[in-house]
């Protein structure tokens, strides 16, 4: 006999990378985060902001943090996939 489970959104796991000022503010350079499939970058950020403290502060509008998924800059509407490397970049100051 075979049972059929109802279809549910499969969970995914992404790697979050915090760079430069963000790494120092969060006291963390990277972490794994489990999320529902098809989560947008905006939702990832909302998840982090909900932690409060430095997370709420650093992702406040006007801080100019950009997001790169697998090394490509994306908009907040971008949907992350299982295994993605999601990096948070403060405004760059090289050169």
């Amino acid at each position: 006999m075979t049972t059929f489970a109802p279809a549910v959104a499969a969970d995914i796991t992404v790697d979050l990378i915090y760079l430069a000022r963000l790494r120092e503010a969060f006291g963390c350079s990277s972490e794994s985060l489990a999320l529902p499939a098809a989560t947008t970058v905006a939702e990832v950020i909302a998840t982090l902001v909900a932690r409060g403290g430095a997370y709420a502060e650093e992702f406040a509008s006007g801080r100019g943090v950009r997001v790169a998924v697998n090394h490509e800059v994306v908009t907040t509407a971008h949907r992350v996939r299982d295994g993605d490397e999601v990096a948070f970049l403060p405004p760059v100051t090289g050169g």
Binding site: L19, A68, H71, A87, P90, P91, V92, T93, G94, G95
Partner: protein
């Protein structure tokens, strides 16, 4: 095209010579060297630490060079950017461009620098008498990059 992110210092003369490679189609070589200033927004700077995002930084630099090659009639481009601890007067970055004529070489070198400043994932942390601070992005750099919009 050569893109290099490295903790080591570079020899400007040797790098430019290697880029030219005695190619007699080249008539113009424009280069930019960025160096550590001991003054930043009026504060004395005793040292600098440069951080990047390994993997993405190299790709971002290569994409900027590709864009320069698409926009300008140039032969070759070299970008070297240092990371790690640096002292005042140290070399930070070298961008060199070869072309047949000087106009394209000047434009392309400046374009690469303007884009590098606003798009390449590098971050500077300065040591000043008030402590160590992450450097703020400059609006003048955004304005310089925006000049190339099209």
């Amino acid at each position: 095209m050569t893109v290099r992110v490295t903790g080591d210092d570079f020899d400007v003369g040797a790098e430019i010579a290697a880029l030219r490679a005695d190619d007699a189609r080249v008539g113009a070589v424009v280069s930019f060297v960025g160096t550590v200033r001991d003054l930043s927004d009026g504060r004395a700077v005793s040292g600098l630490a440069l951080e990047h995002y390994p993997g993405m930084t190299e790709k971002a630099l290569a994409a900027i060079v590709d864009e320069a090659r698409a926009r300008f009639d140039i032969h070759d481009v070299l970008v070297i950017h240092r990371i790690g601890p640096l002292s005042p007067a140290d070399q930070i970055v070298l961008v060199a461009v070869t072309s047949a004529h000087r106009g394209d070489a000047f434009d392309a070198c400046r374009f690469v620098m303007d884009y590098l400043k606003t798009r390449a994932p590098f971050w500077k942390k300065e040591t000043t008498p008030a402590g160590a601070n992450w450097v703020d992005a400059r609006e003048s750099d955004d304005a310089a990059a925006a000049r190339w919009a099209r």
